[in-house]
Symmetry: C2
């Protein structure tokens, strides 16, 4: 829940709601949302906000009822259509809290469809707070004008992810050990993809051997420098979006 | 000053020093460095660290003298040559503290040669702590195995930067208002370049008009989504490094 800065006009409030939006639709507010809109942002009956539900685009909604702990909005007009990202998953090994939060935020901003934390041999994190990471993805979409929120999966072992890999989904595999020997993505087929970013300590030899042998894996180099995992995530999303996504 | 994680071996300490390195060279330590190496990391005489000075590559150095407030290292062998980045400046409008720190860190990691904070019409920051930002660039190089540290310039007005623009340097100009109408960089000439990232509120109309009219400016789109300034910085560095830098 956050105002979007927009120079030259009053700040716009954009809010993700888990309620289907449509013309004339009444949207009940959670206690937190009511507190934010009426307590923090001081909106009153008749004021407007922008809503999105991840499915039906962005709607201008009017405050119909403003209470301390509850409230309701009424959708008036659709302001933007749903912008669905390409069918791209971002798989990454969770790292320190702030940088994991950052990866989730950036994946939502850059247009990943799904965010999959994976536990590798050198991943320290034994568990994640999925709900907290999901909230970061929501906030990134709210702040950046997104109309779609990628789902954050539960943490899974890399081995299990690869054992149940969906047919037809390709894997862009970024590993600093590949520097200079990665393939270009330019000629790779479009369709469902996933990006895999290794942990700070890199992949283990066993993981690397398995990844290299996968018929659906495309090793890609992110240049001659060692990048932190969060930097590598944004760089990899850029490389993929430019070559195969919706940036072209 | 930070240990570099390196799975499978003991943590390596990498330290930037402002003292020329060479075979047999003795390197005096500052009070902070001595405290870090001997107080925090518990090194003693005879232990090794990796040093770089931004000019002569990376050297393995042995602790020759270890005191509480001072000490000395002796360079033994060069472990890596200097890796000079391409002649690329990253110009950006400072934003909130944490995200400004992040942009500087990422520019150092991704291989910018110089980091130039610029004040635009919609930049809130009136001043920056140049020394603190420079320390972030040093730390990023220490952590990511860099041998070069980009210099962080003092904050300058965008207008003044453009008034004194060096001849022959091209400008990759990223603005969300350009979404979909930017040019591809693929055919642009190599040589000295700068990237300019706008502030969160975008450029003013006057700035945009001036930037578009510059003969050395190349507008580049970073896709159909609104990106935060820190995300845009990493994405723009990736686009440039892939097309014209040393990632190819």
């Amino acid at each position: 829940m956050a105002p979007m800065s927009d120079a030259g006009s009053a700040a716009k409030i954009r809010l993700f709601v888990e309620h289907p939006l449509g013309a004339g639709q009444t949207v009940p507010l959670s206690r937190e949302q009511a507190h934010y809109l009426f307590g923090v942002m001081r909106l009153t009956v008749g004021d407007f906000v922008l809503l999105f539900d991840g499915l039906n685009g962005e709607w201008r909604a009017r405050v119909a009822d403003a209470g301390k702990r509850a409230g309701a909005l009424v959708c008036e007009a659709r302001t933007r259509p749903l912008q669905v990202p390409p069918d791209l998953w971002l798989c990454f090994a969770p790292i320190k809290k702030a940088r994991t939060d950052f990866i989730v935020e950036k994946a939502a901003e850059m247009g990943a469809a799904r965010i999959c934390p994976v536990q590798t041999d050198f991943t320290n994190a034994e568990r994640i707070r999925r709900d907290r990471l999901q909230a970061h993805a929501v906030e990134a979409a709210e702040q950046c004008g997104g109309t779609y929120v990628p789902e954050v999966s539960e943490l899974q072992r890399l081995g299990a992810v690869l054992d149940t890999w969906p047919e037809g989904r390709r894997l862009m595999f970024c590993d600093e050990a590949l520097a200079g020997e990665g393939r270009a993505l330019g000629d790779a087929p479009r369709g469902p993809w996933a990006i895999l970013i290794g942990p700070e300590g890199g992949f283990s030899e066993a993981e690397r051997a398995r990844l290299r042998a996968l018929p659906f894996a495309h090793p890609v180099s992110l240049g001659p420098r060692v990048l932190r995992a969060d930097t590598a995530a944004v760089a990899a999303l850029t490389v993929w979006q430019q070559a195969l996504g919706d940036w072209a």
